[in-house]
Point group: C2
Chain length 531, copies 2
């Protein structure tokens, strides 16, 4: 075993390998020969375009050339010669002209080729017009500012191309068209309203997108979604690190059945029964018992449940923290609320372009939130629902529809999409939740909501081993599978609490997206394990 990412290769039947290799080599040679034909030999400007040889992409030399990122191209660069690398997003042309839109990381620039002696040859225009969409190209040219602003590209300048080289060719037939995948509902409505234009857009279904996720992820909205997701983790961590939290990495492979229940992935671990952690709950608490004071973790969480909703995944990213409490679980809420206000502020401030890109495809109302987060007790939530003639069991959990309803009521009354509900009935919380001091039917627990959907659960935890054992038994949990966890509290334990957040849900609900699969890079649900 190697502790790094490189694996050595397993042994092979030599004969079979040699045969298969020969076949693959043939295909490769054919492809390369075909590529060579693309260059027109007679053209005196032939050196200015063509397919780059594979050899020169194998780290052959360091030329010292500098590439400019497409997103950085602006009018201040007018007249400069620049070199960009990106994908062929679209192209249209005649015999004498070619318009090539090059895309890099969701940003686009138009490159113009116009036949002119000693500058751009016919052969070059012809070559460019033949490059398949999504191929990778290097384009060198002069930045110009068009009189009439260009529509449909993110950058407001053009490149008057002088050199175009193809680095990597995309297959001519793609399983989905990027322009189709990037269209908004508004585009479809417009096309439907105006059938005289004869435009008929293709809708790319969710399965097609997810089956070909690498292509789907290239749309401007998807580029933005995962850049915002990266920002959310960063803001979460930065805030907690500044507040003296320590980042831990707890094991995902656990003995026995972890927190119990049926939603656990089981596996064989060297002959021992094992499972995948459904959360870092037990080990982050053990981190508190191990004197780390305040801890957090960002890592995968595994749930084997058979849920086919818009907001459930079998694997997602948990943002977890746990901290010593001096007196009250409100200390946890103080941190949590401050973290989330910092995250929301941070996204709004740092991700303006990304939010625009998402809005262009999936328009949404900006999240409304208060500087001081609203805290309601569960009982107050029940009352608000009652006032709206929605009668619920005051000791049972809300269902999704009731949560949404309460979200609407709270939004109207308190002008916020983000609020905390606390002091939940004990019966609907996990065994390790601390009961309220004044009424054990309630607990020192909370959920947090964005736009009427739960994104965070948390609580003060039971730090007394006897009470913990009692609660586990009452909840029908096999106490012996929890022995190392419960033992941790026998050696002195500080009062503590914490919370767990679903990263994908935060991004989904901040941007009011309708499906969690949109905010998971390669989603896993009961039917999807690939790509």
């Amino acid at each position: 075993m190697s502790a790094t990412m490189e694996e050595s290769n397993p042994p092979v039947s030599k004969k079979a390998a040699a045969k298969a290799a020969k076949k693959a080599e043939k295909t490769l040679n054919k492809q390369m020969a075909a590529a060579a034909l693309d260059v027109e030999e007679e053209d005196p400007l032939a050196a200015n375009y063509g397919d780059v040889s594979f050899q020169s992409l194998q780290s052959k030399e360091i030329s010292g050339r500098k590439w400019v990122a497409v997103r950085l191209l602006d009018t201040g660069m007018k007249g400069q010669t620049v070199l960009v690398r990106g994908r062929v997003h679209t192209e249209r042309g005649t015999g004498k002209m070619a318009f090539l839109v090059v895309r890099e990381a969701g940003c686009t620039v138009q490159c113009v080729l116009s036949v002119a002696e000693n500058i751009v040859s016919k052969g070059m225009v012809k070559y460019v017009n033949k490059i398949s969409k999504e191929s990778i190209v290097d384009v060198e040219g002069i930045v110009s500012v068009p009189e009439k602003p260009i529509e449909g590209t993110s950058q407001k300048v053009e490149i008057q191309a002088r050199k175009v080289y193809c680095i990597s060719k995309a297959a001519a037939q793609l399983p989905l068209n990027l322009e189709d995948a990037a269209r908004s509902e508004r585009d479809f409505e417009k096309a439907e309203k105006d059938p005289q234009q004869g435009v008929q857009f293709v809708r790319v279904g969710q399965d097609t997108r997810l089956n070909n996720r690498v292509l789907d992820l290239r749309t401007p909205a998807n580029q933005a979604i995962f850049r915002i997701q990266s920002q959310v983790s960063t803001l979460f961590r930065q805030f907690l690190l500044a507040e003296d939290f320590v980042e831990l990495h707890t094991p995902k492979l656990l003995a026995g059945a972890s927190e119990g229940g049926s939603s656990v992935f089981k596996l064989d671990y060297k002959g021992q029964p094992a499972c995948l952690a459904q959360s870092p709950q037990l080990h982050k608490q053990m981190g508190i018992c191990a004197d780390f004071g305040r801890v957090f973790e960002i890592g995968p969480v595994f749930r084997a449940e058979n849920s086919f909703t818009h907001r459930h995944l079998c694997e997602f990213t948990g943002l977890d923290f746990e901290m010593e409490i001096k007196e009250h679980y409100f200390e946890v809420l103080d941190v949590l609320e401050a973290v989330f206000v910092a995250i929301f502020d941070g996204i709004n401030e740092k991700c303006v372009k990304h939010l625009e890109a998402i809005n262009a495809q999936y328009p949404f109302e900006p999240l409304q939130y208060l500087r001081k987060t609203l805290r309601l007790t569960f009982a107050e939530g029940v009352k608000l629902l009652e006032e709206a003639a929605i009668i619920v069991d005051p000791m049972a959990d809300f269902n999704t529809e009731t949560e949404r309803e309460l979200g609407r009521i709270v939004k109207e009354k308190f002008k916020t999409d983000f609020y905390v509900l606390h002091r939940y009935p004990a019966a609907i919380r996990p065994f390790y939740t601390m009961p309220c001091w004044d009424d054990p039917r309630y607990s020192n627990s909370f959920d947090v909501f964005i736009r009427g959907e739960e994104i965070i659960s948390g609580a003060q935890r039971v730090h007394d081993p006897e009470l913990l054992t009692k609660r586990a038994i009452e909840c029908g949990i096999e106490v012996n599978t929890l022995s190392t966890y419960i033992d941790s509290f026998r050696w002195g334990a500080v009062p503590h609490g914490g919370a767990g957040v679903g990263l994908e849900r935060v991004v989904m609900l901040f941007c009011a997206l309708n499906n969690i699969r949109k905010t998971s890079l390669f989603p896993r649900d009961p039917q999807r394990l690939a790509p």
Copy 2:
């Protein structure tokens, strides 16, 4: 399923639960009654000490009191009344005096109680002397600066205690003694050299430590190790985020057998065969094909190999990155070397106290590294070995001993513990490694070493789907299990490369620790799946 960390409880047989609950409640009541007896009712100062009622730890009230962290106590606070919460580290006393060393997060302060009318009662001293080690206490008192510096505590001040309350009692018998667990080899040697003193220290073996990891983690050295580990991740991320990298979360549940080989954990995923990712290799490359340009991930990595060495684990934390290459894999090395110099500088600068704590138990030479990292080719490495009369196969991988030997030679010759070896023979690298342009027997790959041990592997990757297929077949890999990965390269792919780092190895080797289990919070090896 819930996307947050709280699990609902599974159903129970009501009768069995009620019975078991009754039993647990009895134990609990007994314990509480015993606790109540500890307070001496007649003492007029009785309110200044005793066990805190459990109810008041259930978020009963917010008093507004402020606790000071032990590590912040210093001579500038002389005369101030402070309140600290920590563990009873040691205590010694007579009828009239008590010396209580309180420990918080590995830092210690001595609290002094001396019987004085209306200030400290005999009952209080008696109470304090009875509190078991590792119990959690609140101590309030006045900061004083002793004339003679105190030995054996991290803080140079004392607290003249006025109030002592016990928050949580540790069991009287602990599976290991913290003082024993924190002793250095030097302490043992001293005790052995001086047998007249009659001191016989108990050695705490590795299994005892790991079986009771929550206790073991409380030693100053362990507190420091995991705070440094947290710092390493932070420095890694900060550097890459500043260089335009995007943080991704790739799936750990994969269809089929991932990268192949026997070292894979298999499981059943809703009736489909699945495995745990041995690295984020395939998906981070797919992230590049999805236009993220530069990506990184910090997450768990699973290896089912049967290795029982000092440097192998079945689950560890991978620091991975992958990036577009414009021309040469040296671009990857440029980033990698800069990241690591930033990490080393950062630890040395920000973790001075932690390094001292580790050194006190496990003395080590500071890591020697160059501002500009040394890069040697594999062939140059072979030559250096040959010059030292160590003859190796120039096309085979080095074994651990040869790597160490080369580390010693390099250290002597180039004055560095940290260096890069690149251009490895292709046959000993994974199938996705890019062959060298001038000689396909070699590859655009590298390993990085600290103190003669490998911590990082990386390379330029093959971005051409035909060559990738050919290489996979030559290496005997089932190509059809890799179809979604290989397809990603059919839709246009930029040249790219990256590296994977084992977080636990970085910390282990920076601090010259002798076993990777020391730098894994809850280690997993072929025989250990708990706690």
